[in-house]
Amino acid sequence: MARIEFKQVRHAYPPPPGQPPVYALKEVDQVWEDGGAYALLGPSGCGKTTLLNTISGLLTPSEGTILFDDVEVTRLPTVQRQIAQVFQFPVVYDTMTVYDNLAFPLRNRGIAEDRVRARVEEIAAMLDLTDRLRQRAAGLTADGKQKISLGRGLVREDVNAILFDEPLTVIDPHLKWQLRSKLKELHQQIGVTMIYVTHDQVEALTFADRVVVMYDGAVVQVGTPVELFSQPNHTFVGYFIGSPGMNVLPCELDHGRPVFHGLPVDTRHPASGDLGGKLEIGVRPEFVHFADRGIPVQIEKVEDLGRYQVVTALHGSDTIKMVVGEDERVPSENPQIAFDPEYTRIYHDDWVVGGQAS
């Protein structure tokens, strides 16, 4: 058990000869509190796996320091870090039985055989593998093999953290949901730090207490699912989390107040002055509604999704999505819309202006 701290960690993979290095991790300062359930969320190629591998020691970062409980481990090999990690694709030791696979991490650490048996049986019961323990691991389906991989991650008791690198990719949807609940349940039972990498926001939001959103090699926001939804710090967070994603519209500033194509927009979060660079308004579709006086739009499309409707509106060439209740009537003549001032924010070069949420 340990608190894991990243101080200015950067990493670049060796570049092709004659080219400058490209940083897969641009600079990460991040604290993973002991016992937290974290999700590391971001698109493919944003550096999630690189970050994870630097925690487990499979990768030594090119710059920066990693501390476990204030002890530096940056250059410590994997074996000495007491980290369990589960990979995206199943890894099983083909020639061993399921039992021996699960026992492998424990036996390598010289744990007594009766303790090994107790742990393996406990984990097998949790993953519904009990009746397959004597079978050879090679004969299992992809689902079964990934369960073994998960089991090998969970079987050790003395770990500082368990890292999951998109572990449920190969698992069918029903079982996926079930296993994720199991992991969550297990987290509550044993209270070990878990970091769960995914590019699926539903997975992240259902698993984690705190979600770390990564974009292009950097952490853009850390927060609870609610915070990420209501106060996105970065346009990427707004766009990536939520379905449909946040509306990001070009704007200008008039004494710190946003103006959208000549129309003033009301917000509780004005800028302190006028700014140069790229300026945008961000507002989630959930906080856009029809109004008597507001921004005139044309309705392009209405999608009925059962409990709500998604309306695609156009103002000039800008698309604005809105979510309205299933019973709400979409006005047919001269529709006008307004934004909820509490949830309308200004973004300057993609970062939120005025009062960043932590």
Binding site: T78, A84, Q85, F89, V91, T95, P105, R136, R152
Partner: protein
């Protein structure tokens, strides 16, 4: 579903049948023909039944050659397999040295067999050969043309030099196909270097190793050119392996009957051992 019958399709099969007939079946049948009959030339044959087979199977000469052959094949497999695996394991996985290593490894395989024999013959000559002269000046009494032990050592070392590369290349291919995730998982699981080899690398190399063993078994069991050029089967008969003995009987003594019978026995032994080995290896696979 109606099956359409189109006899013209046979024309596509005929060339293959002809080819197989001319390069395998007819020569083999000629051998069978000689194995059961006696001839004094002029295409006059007398039926002999299984006489030649009995004669070969009872002859001490055949037993001795078979024994030498088994010993030789056993020895080279026992050296080449572990050595080949060890070299493959220590070769770099990426970087500019990969191609250098691969080319160096492939070089011995490109040299014609008789050239290999001649090379080693000259290399090992006790008076002027680099190896032979060096060994003698270091105080070893080494002369492969006179001492059976020296002849054997030279033959085995030559085969190891010539063919270990094949095992290295096959194993290297097997190793390259192991995804990084396996090594990472092993790190996380705290596996020792030996455990990584035993539980990841060896099982993943099983198929290529099966092929490597089969190829090396067949080739070494039928080895002819290299020892023929190097030692000519000597000194005495000490390095006369099965194929060398067979040629001596067939072409040296012109005993076509016993030679044909011996060919068939030789062929069946190779076939039997390959089949048994392959079946054994694949049985594990199916479970």
């Amino acid at each position: 579903m109606n099956k359409t019958s189109n006899p013209k399709a046979w024309w596509f099969v005929v060339p293959v049948l002809a080819l197989v007939a001319f390069n395998a079946f007819i020569p083999l049948m000629t051998v069978v023909n000689y194995a059961f009959q006696e001839t004094f030339g002029d295409n006059v044959f007398f039926w002999e039944g299984t006489t030649w087979f009995e004669q070969v199977l009872r002859s001490d000469r055949f037993h001795a050659a078979l024994g030498r052959q088994l010993l030789f094949t056993g020895m080279i497999l026992a050296i080449e397999l572990p050595l080949g695996i060890a070299v493959a394991l220590s070769m770099p996985r990426k970087g500019p040295w990969v191609s250098v290593c691969l080319v160096l490894m492939a070089l011995p395989l490109l040299i014609p067999w008789n050239v290999v024999g001649a090379m080693w013959n000259i290399f090992a000559l006790p008076d002027i050969g680099l190896l032979g002269h060096m060994l003698n000046s270091m105080g070893f009494d080494y002369n492969f043309t006179r001492q059976p032990v020296s002849a054997w050592m030279t033959t085995v070392v030559m085969d190891v030099w010539h063919w270990t590369s094949l095992i290295v290349l096959l194993c290297y291919a097997g190793l390259s196909s192991i995804p990084d995730a396996y090594y990472q998982a092993a790190h996380i699981d705290g596996a020792s270097r030996w455990a990584v080899f035993r539980y990841i690398q060896l099982p993943k190399m099983k198929r290529v190793l099966t092929i490597a063993i089969l190829l090396r078994f067949m080739d070494s069991f039928m080895i002819y050119t290299e020892p023929f050029v190097l030692t000519g089967g000597g000194p005495g008969n000490t390095t006369t392996f099965l194929s060398i003995d067979l040629v001596k009987i067939a072409l040296g003594q012109f005993d076509l009957g016993p030679a044909a019978a011996m060919s068939l026995i030789y062929f069946l032994v190779v076939l039997l051992i390959c089949w048994a080995f392959y079946t054994l290896m694949m049985r594990g696979e199916e479970q």
